[in-house]
């Protein structure tokens, strides 16, 4: 039997199909979020099924997560992205203690206890500073591609100080820095540091390892290093970092059934 997780995020929709025999990803897909949220997610789901030659009747259960989770009325259940991230990342890294998730429009820091259960979490969802959107805007201003950001940041000799607490003002600050002759490399390194500082503020004192980095921003070169340097801890980027939420949702979908079928322990540590 197959199980599906759908992560309807603020910028992209992710679908993950897993096989409950070994809880591995059979197929996955991603598309941009849009106005027709429900239809877009449905189309992506159909595409993933088609490409993996799985029929709808062989899908046991669907769990939806992400901002748009409640709009997906064809899902069997909704679970918050906090719990789904914890499941998805724990499945890859069973002893994970901290998850840093930086998405398109928010960032989260999730602390897990020794048994893999969410202990608590912090979220920055009131402003775009500290999110992927900030990097997009900065990249556009600096005429860089997102995938070049890391390479360029490494060339910085003196990362610029970006102090604005708001993306709109930070953009103005970038314009000002360019006008004063600051190099784009120093500016982009400064932007990455400023996002890392936001995460550092959420982490507070006593961040626990292993730390796993997820979300679209984890794919952007340079961010992992900026975070590791600021937090003074080594950081692991999750496998398919954009997919961990949907993966977790799929595991939850499968697990509910397996509890009944096989009497498996319904807890995070048992799922890997």
């Amino acid at each position: 039997m197959f199980y599906v997780g759908v992560d309807a995020g603020s910028r992209t929709i992710k679908v993950v199909l897993i096989n409950d025999e070994d809880m591995r990803i059979v197929a996955s897909g991603i598309c941009n979020q849009g106005v027709r949220q429900t239809a877009l997610a449905q189309e992506l789901f159909n595409k993933v099924l088609f490409e993996s030659s799985v029929e709808r009747k062989d899908v046991g259960r669907i769990v939806a997560t992400g901002y748009g989770r409640n709009a997906l009325d064809w899902a069997d259940r909704t679970v918050t992205e906090i719990t789904c991230q914890a499941y998805g990342v724990s499945a890859q890294t069973p002893n994970v203690r901290t998850i840093i998730d930086i998405g398109g429009q928010d960032s989260k820091l999730i602390r897990l206890d020794q048994s893999g259960i969410v202990h608590d979490f912090e979220m920055n969802d009131r402003c775009a500073a500290g999110t992927g959107r900030f990097l997009e805007i900065a990249a556009e201003r600096l005429e860089m591609k997102l995938e070049e950001l890391g390479e360029n940041a490494e060339k910085a000799d003196q990362p610029a100080a970006i102090s604005s607490m708001c993306v709109v003002f930070a953009e103005a600050e970038i314009v000002g820095l360019l006008a004063s002759g600051e190099s784009p490399e120093n500016i982009i390194a400064g932007v990455q540091n400023s996002i890392a500082k936001r995460i550092g503020a959420m982490a507070g004192a006593g961040i626990k390892s292993p730390i796993v980095f997820t979300g679209g921003v984890a794919l952007i070169p340079g961010m992992k290093n900026a975070l590791a340097k600021l937090l003074n801890h080594s950081i692991r980027v999750a496998e398919n970092p954009q997919m961990t939420g949907a993966f977790g949702a799929a595991i939850i979908a499968a697990e509910q059934r397996s509890v009944i079928n096989r009497g498996r322990c319904n807890c995070m540590v048992a799922v890997h």
């Binding site: 719990t83 608590d120 807890c267």
Partner: protein
């Protein structure tokens, strides 16, 4: 069947849904008979002294987002929404109770209120009571008792009356009766299957204390509600302790999010919940002002340092009400509760082994989806832990 049965049992709940109208009628009636309307804004204010001066104490705390916005013409935007809303009502002259008040008894619960009162006092005669800051200090109680004597004097002067010990004792008796009834009503939530929701209990209050009809309804509720059921049933919900700032009339949004997301607020440790009804006043004391000073001195208000009483109260209530998690509500820019939340989080997580969530917001609904996400995630953790521990 259940709906029908509930409809009959609901009459006390329905009664309190028109509490504002009831209070207006009552205040009008009393004013016509010569009583004075006295506005108050804090549970630390001893209503008994006001009542002994033939005053009708009425709560003026604002819960309206609209009025909070209006106050920003005059007050800083980064201020507690209760302060803004209360003051906004004054600017707009929209709170009938404030407009009909003969006198205001204010207090120094926080710097924001204290300074707002200066502006409010331009339009309304006012006496400010100074609250103790260091309850463990040996001079603190003496100072507080002296403050109550000053309040008594101020009321006597303002209303050209004399507050006798007999009048104080009568007021103490009726307030003790109300506190006992409210305590017992809240105590219904200790049950495995509470007969009402936290939101329903929150509404069973009144802007004016000890209205005879209200007391009758509380009594009726105690006998009638025990046979009632709620939907969805309590078994499927997470038992929540809500602590932190009060939820004045109109500002029930967070309570709704908590209960609509699968929780049941079984215990409210705040000034619209149990905080001030936990202790009564000694009815037989020789010096009623001293007895009043004792009761109010023990109120664990976050303006105190250290406020050990609140931690003790939270610890006791968490056990009595068998809560499964603690949600702390902080109104934006409420520094005292915000900073004190560190101690509450520590108590919940380290000592009581309960999940803790802190929500900081104001009266505007813009962040409701964000709050719901946090609350739902908290419940998932609570339920996950339950499965894990079993």
């Amino acid at each position: 069947m259940r709906a029908e049965r509930n409809a009959k049992l609901d009459s006390p709940i329905t009664y309190f849904q028109s509490q504002v109208e009831n209070c207006l009628d009552y205040a009008d009636m009393r004013k016509k008979k010569g009583a004075k309307i006295v506005g108050i804004m804090c549970e630390y204010t001893p209503r008994e002294i006001i009542m002994a001066a033939d005053g009708v104490p009425v709560c003026l705390c604002g819960g309206s987002a609209e009025m909070a916005e209006s106050a920003e013409k005059c007050l800083p935007s980064n201020l507690c929404p209760i302060i803004k809303s209360t003051f906004g009502y004054s600017l707009e002259e929209e709170n009938p109770f404030l407009e009909m008040s003969d006198f205001l008894v204010a207090e120094t619960t926080c710097d924001g209120k204290k300074k707002m009162y200066e502006l409010l006092a331009e339009k309304h005669p006012m006496h400010v009571v100074e609250l103790p800051q260091k309850p463990d200090d040996r001079d603190a109680f003496k100072h507080w008792e002296a403050e109550l004597h000053k309040l008594k004097g101020a009321l006597e002067k303002q209303f050209s009356t004399s507050i006798t010990d007999k009048k104080l004792r009568d007021a103490i008796l009726v307030m003790n009766r109300e506190r006992k009834l409210k305590r017992e009503l809240a105590g219904l939530m200790k049950s495995e299957n509470p007969p009402l929701t936290g939101r329903e209990l929150l509404e069973m209050k009144s802007l004016i204390s000890a209205i005879p009809d209200d007391l009758e309804q509380y009594e009726k509720a105690l006998t009638m509600l025990s046979g009632r059921t709620i939907n969805p049933s309590a078994e499927s919900r997470v038992r929540v302790m809500l602590t932190g700032v009060p939820l004045p009339h109109g500002a029930e949004r967070v309570m709704d999010i908590i209960e609509d997301s699968g929780g049941l607020v079984v215990c409210q440790e705040n000034c619209t919940g149990l905080k001030h009804v936990q202790e009564d006043v000694d009815e037989t004391a020789e010096d009623p002002v001293h007895a009043l000073a004792e009761k109010y001195f023990h109120l664990p208000c976050s303006v105190m340092t250290r406020n050990h009483g609140r931690i003790e109260q939270l610890r006791a209530l968490a056990g009595e009400y068998r809560v499964e998690c603690v949600i702390e509500l902080i109104w934006q820019a409420c520094l005292t509760y915000d900073l004190e939340s560190s101690w509450v989080k520590r108590l919940a997580e380290e000592e009581l082994n309960l999940s803790y969530l802190r929500i900081e917001t104001d009266f505007s609904p813009s962040d409701s989806a964000r709050i719901a996400l946090r609350v739902q995630s908290l419940y998932e953790t609570v339920k996950g832990r339950k499965v894990f521990n079993n």
